[in-house]
């Protein structure tokens, strides 16, 4: 079973530049969460703060009773053993082949024999579809393969929390779809807490149980998937539906003139909410909720056509 991450009043700035301030959210144990945000809003910084690679200026990140922001170096290295992290480019060790890369955490942290290590490594390599590429060096393979190898390495110690830093950047749509399916299947299998940082809307709309949106140096909204997908809040609506009309501009937020000019423009209707991606074996995940449950419980009428099994995955707008 996964572990809960409790983030309270977290702020981080580099020099005088505030990256984001007063972020408060709880990533529920065992659920899949997606953290969204326009480019350059500090999503990766947020991820690095969660694992203690960067120290926040204020606030706390509590995991199993330990505050990552203030704990000692020793406690930090202990708590990190709960984590598996998939870095943007896989962050494979360039001097080792894929097999040694994936075996690395096992050899460093466990006293397993070489044959046990081999069994676990081959199982994870099989999971990400890299059997046959064990002897390749990270420099010799494509970005997508590096990413999958990074995922295999992140999973090898049976983590309670798995963090994904833009798992879909630089991947083609087919591979992204496979990777998303893999993420959902993995969650069903190991029940760990998943946090995905991305700006791919299709991933955000179909994969997670919860969505968070970082925008303009604060957390704009965090909650169940259906809550954000049916939200009329301008920023959330604009971002989740990839529209030009709304407060987010090309460089940063739009200025008053631009907003004024847009005032009378008709907002396109909210596109229907797609069904959540299910595990490929058809058995629902532990944290999975029936489609439309949140909308019914909170008296929100989902956009017409929502939760239609035949609906295409593509987003509108």
């Amino acid at each position: 079973m996964g572990v809960e991450i409790k983030v309270e009043h977290l702020s981080k700035s580099f020099g005088k530049q505030l990256i984001w301030g007063d972020v408060t959210l709880t990533v529920p144990a065992g659920e899949i969460c997606v953290m969204l945000g326009p480019s350059g809003t500090g999503k990766s910084v947020f991820l690095k703060t969660l694992i203690g690679l960067l120290k926040p200026d204020q606030g706390s990140v509590v995991i199993e009773g330990t505050d990552i922001a203030t704990c000692s170096e020793k406690e930090l290295y202990e708590i990190r053993k709960l984590f598996g992290v998939l870095f943007q480019d896989g962050a494979m060790f360039g001097s080792m082949n894929l097999y040694d890369n994936v075996a690395f955490p096992l050899r460093e942290h466990t006293k397993k024999s070489e044959s046990e290590v081999r069994d676990i490594v081959m199982e994870k390599m099989d999971l990400v579809g890299l059997v046959g590429a064990e002897d390749k060096l990270p420099g010799e393979i494509s970005g997508g393969m590096r990413k999958r190898a990074g995922l295999a390495r992140a999973l090898v110690l049976e983590p309670e929390i798995v963090l994904f830093d833009e798992p879909d950047s630089g991947l083609d749509p087919v591979r992204t779809a496979f990777l998303n399916q893999l993420i959902v299947d993995l969650n069903a299998q190991i029940d760990a807490t998943f946090l995905i940082v991305t700006h791919d809307i299709n991933t955000a709309r179909t994969v997670p149980d919860n969505i968070g949106l970082l925008y303009h140096r604060h957390l704009a909204m965090f909650g169940p998937r259906e809550m954000l997908l049916s939200s009329e809040e301008p920023v959330v609506r604009q971002f989740l539906n990839a529209q030009r009309v709304g407060p987010i501009g090309m460089s940063e937020e739009k200025d008053a003139d631009e907003l004024e000019a847009e005032k009378d423009q008709e907002l396109p209707p909210l596109p229907p909410i797609p069904l959540q991606l299910e595990p490929s074996n058809g058995i629902p995940r532990r944290s999975q909720r029936p489609p439309g449950e949140w909308c019914r419980m909170n008296g929100v009428t989902p956009p017409p056509g929502s939760f239609d099994g035949n609906m295409s995955m593509a987003t509108g707008g």
């Binding site: 870095f87 060790f93 990074g150």
Partner: protein, 261 residues
């Protein structure tokens, strides 16, 4: 505005402080188990392989220049029989540690900084920390120890090659007598000269490796950052090593009085 200039003026102090803190971290990690024997052997072999040949090639002209200079000078005093002793003194006391410093910083240190810098910008070091492994213990400590070990060996090699080069130039080119050259070896130099050369080499290896690791692990800003880190590490190491060499020589001369012929 005033705070800006103040922070700029104090920036070097901050950098020095961070570097010092890093050095303390390394020294603390030196005694933490498990010791990374495999990485240590690999690194020692790697540093030796990039430094041995350049060091030997630097040592020959070093010995030769000393022999030429001293030989010419000493002839005017009519003290040719002391040529050997003067060149041994110069090579063992000064040339060997300086030659070692040049190569351990220029070849070994730059290779370490480039390696760690590349790992830093590819997020390998972050990945390592996230996997619960301290890069200082896993990567830096073996490199520092390897650089220290190799530096001591290099020092010995420069001594031997330098003295041999001096012998060749004195005997073959300046018509010195082999017997006089060899016999005067111990006239001015003494055993502690060798120890201090080794001690210097040990300290040089330590400083060069710590600077290179620090610069490499703090590389930022993509591939250009790695180049900058390597460049800075070599320059900083040179400056530090020459200063430390001066200080250690001064202390040595106070502690061990020079032998008089």
């Amino acid at each position: 505005m005033s705070s800006l200039t103040a922070s700029r003026a104090l920036a070097p102090v901050g950098t020095a402080g961070k570097f010092f803190a890093f050095g303390l971290d390394v020294i603390r990690a030196l005694f933490r188990r498990p010791f990374q024997l495999r990485e240590f052997i690999q690194q020692a072999w790697f540093i030796a392989s990039v430094t041995i040949i350049p060091t030997a090639l630097v040592a020959i002209p070093f010995g030769a220049v000393i022999a030429l200079q001293v030989g010419g000078l000493i002839k005017q005093f009519g003290a040719q029989s002391f040529t050997g002793s003067a060149s041994v003194l110069a090579v063992v006391q000064q040339a060997a540690p300086i030659g070692t410093a040049l190569l351990i910083a220029g070849a070994g240190g730059s290779a370490i900084a480039a390696d760690l810098g590349a790992r830093k910008i590819r997020e390998e070091l972050d990945a390592m920390m996230v996997l619960g492994i301290d890069p200082i213990q896993r990567l830096v400590v073996p490199r520092v120890l390897a650089a220290m070990l190799v530096a001591v060996f290099l020092n010995g090699m420069v001594s031997v090659v330098g003295v041999a080069g001096g012998y060749f130039f004195n005997v073959v080119l300046q018509d010195g007598t082999p017997g006089a050259y060899l016999a005067s070896f111990t006239a001015l130099s003494q055993l502690p000269d060798l120890w201090q050369g080794m001690a210097k080499a040990l300290v040089f290896g330590l400083i060069a490796a710590i600077v290179a690791c620090y610069k490499g692990m703090n590389a930022a800003g993509g591939p250009k950052g790695v180049g900058d880190a390597v460049n800075e590490s070599v320059v900083v190491t040179f400056i530090l090593l020459f200063i430390v060499n001066f200080v250690m020589s001064a202390i040595y001369i106070q502690l061990v009085p020079p032998k008089t012929g």
